[in-house]
Subunit: 374 residues, 2 copies
């Protein structure tokens, strides 16, 4: 069986290991040479070009993705050519546009923050007035890791984005969301096969720094009955939206004990990297099984607690190789993952996992290894 992955980033890279272990063949269409998934890159080219993508997709059993940016016309062209695409274009359309996502969550009755599509500063001003003078404003498309997201206290603070929208032939709107009084952020992952089987991972706690996922604890400590609620919500979203492969539902947990949908990602997700060393079936293996419509693996944790800490490119100084050796020495039980990327400041270049029976010890191991990269 042969899987084709569009996009050569670290998520594609991390599919290579389980593909090799299961015995699947994996091929990657990378944006350029030397990317994280270079080992499996059988083609290099522009994923926005249908001919490039069709040539790559010849002879694979399924096409899946490192990211959600493949344009709908390219997805439609693949489907027209009879190529299995998972997740499919309809599901991806929801992940590609935050306004469509909000509309869809509203349609299926998923709990979410108050929101509105705002076409100009007046509409944003009205939203601000109705929500205590503060809101989160997001561009509908193209944002990730804190990009395209802004907290505003006055309508003019989004003027540049409105100007850009006005210049765009497609027009459109920004997404305004209430500032949620959340106590912490959670993430719920589920896997779903085209033929319907779906399984939920334990809900995890995520800590963001500067809009980037920094630390994940699995399962979310002290989650209680919200665990089942989150799992049910994730499974329902996957089912109603027809998601295939891995789905991550980023959630806010509120002070009054509710969970609200923040974002969706239809691919393996940073909040699930802990599964590589903390779950019986990693999210990357599960994604491959799901998109190939193979029986899903057990998503149970391997240990009572698991922690994932991202490694960001740090200040100049020691080389990556020196830091790497120091990280391995600092915590022999931590699992150090690096992505073969140049360590620019703030860039995600790897992560560290640890798992075990005692949360304090697991946290200490993961932090000791991660600190070697600072």
């Amino acid at each position: 069986m042969r899987v084709g992955v569009i996009g050569g980033g670290q998520l594609a890279r991390m599919m290579i290991a389980p593909a090799e272990e299961l015995g699947l063949e994996i091929r990657v269409l990378a944006e350029e040479p030397g990317m994280s998934a270079a080992l499996a890159a059988t083609a290099t080219g522009d994923y926005r070009d249908l001919d490039t993508v069709l040539a790559f997709a010849r002879d694979v059993d399924v096409i899946t993705f490192d990211h959600e940016h493949v344009p709908q016309d390219v997805l439609a062209g693949l489907v027209s050519a009879g190529i299995a695409v998972h997740p499919g274009p309809e599901a991806l359309a929801i992940a590609q546009d935050k306004l469509v996502m909000r509309e869809t969550m509203a349609r299926i009755g998923a709990p979410q923050p108050d929101w509105a599509a705002v076409r100009d500063a007046d509409e944003l001003a009205a939203f601000l007035e109705a929500h205590g003078g503060r809101a989160v404003v997001k561009t509908a498309r193209g944002g990730y890791d804190g990009k395209g997201v802004r907290v505003v206290n006055a309508a003019h603070e989004a003027d540049d984005w409105f100007t850009a929208l006005a210049e765009d032939a497609n027009g459109g709107a920004l997404l305004a969301e209430e500032m949620v009084d959340f106590t912490r952020e959670l993430a719920q992952q589920v896997a779903r096969r085209p033929s319907g089987q779906a399984l939920a991972y334990p809900v995890v706690q995520t800590v963001q720094r500067d809009g980037v996922c920094a630390e994940v604890t699995a399962p979310a400590p002290g989650i209680g009955g919200l665990a089942e609620e989150a799992a049910d919500l994730g499974l329902r979203i996957a089912e109603e939206l027809g998601v295939t492969g891995m789905l991550a539902v980023e959630l806010f947990e509120t002070a009054d004990g509710r969970i609200l949908v923040n974002e969706l990602a239809m691919r393996p997700h940073n909040s699930g990297h802990w599964t590589q060393d903390g779950a019986v079936t990693s999210q990357f293996e599960q994604h491959l099984r799901a998109v190939l419509d193979l029986p899903l693996g057990d998503p149970s944790p391997r240990a009572a607690h698991a922690v994932m800490i991202n490694i960001l490119g740090g200040p100049e100084g020691a080389t990556m190789a020196e830091r790497f050796a120091a990280a391995l020495a600092a915590a022999p039980d931590a699992k150090v993952h690096t992505y073969g990327k140049a360590p620019r400041p703030g860039r995600k270049v790897g992560h560290v996992n640890a798992a075990g029976p005692e949360l304090d010890a697991v946290l200490a191991s993961a932090r000791a290894a991660a600190a070697a990269f600072d």
Copy 2:
């Protein structure tokens, strides 16, 4: 950091996953196209040809191996060219010749069966007479998975091998060993870095069928105080022989509670495949860390029990893909590994791992998944 692996078989393949996860670059010199480790095969050629090997080894930080068959003159040529080779030629010389191995074990006082180098039928007859009329006879070189090993009850039963030896310009002898009255077979793995750090994995129980490893249980059930003895023996052998990378010491456990060295392997070994899903650090990750002289990872088990069952190419019938899906469905908690090899009867084409708190349940999962391939 860049590792070059000579040999494109499944052991090289299984180094690819941890190399990608750690963030190392891995290159493989495969014997031919389409082998198990094809994904990382940057070169194809004859590992017995020094020029081929030197060209492959250019620009890597260390050369290591999928097998122990690289000739000493090629190894010497690599070392002369200033290339780090682990395990090194002196250690590999011991793994390449069973007579040298026996002499070396005798020199360092490692417990082993009675043995003798026998140059002709008369010497074998004398050995048989001294050992109850029965012996195991082995060719000194080239045997594996039961090949080059024969139980004989009369000296003439090895005549074909003596004839072959007589025709060989290098002469030589066969190895005769007493038939050990063993209760079971064990395997002790250790990892050792060039700079000296060494760690032992828990000793495991191995069950062979037709000379091929069939099932491994980790740790060896009911092993008691022999566990420490086996670990100490493995560490001592690695140290005294200067082994770098992974060392497997196959052992007999005798009815009177001793352990005796059966065979040595200086590479990841079938008896350690359980570590992929049952140990904090897999033998393949550990081998990479060791040969690069990086700090070793924790060799502790992740669960109380782990079981590995080999998948052999079965009878004609269902395709490998159908069997694969059935195996995944049979045991969602089992980890199915296949090697991308054509499933000829009796050929090792994969293995199944399972791990967990209850041995019965772990065995049942592994056996259910493996049975799908029968």
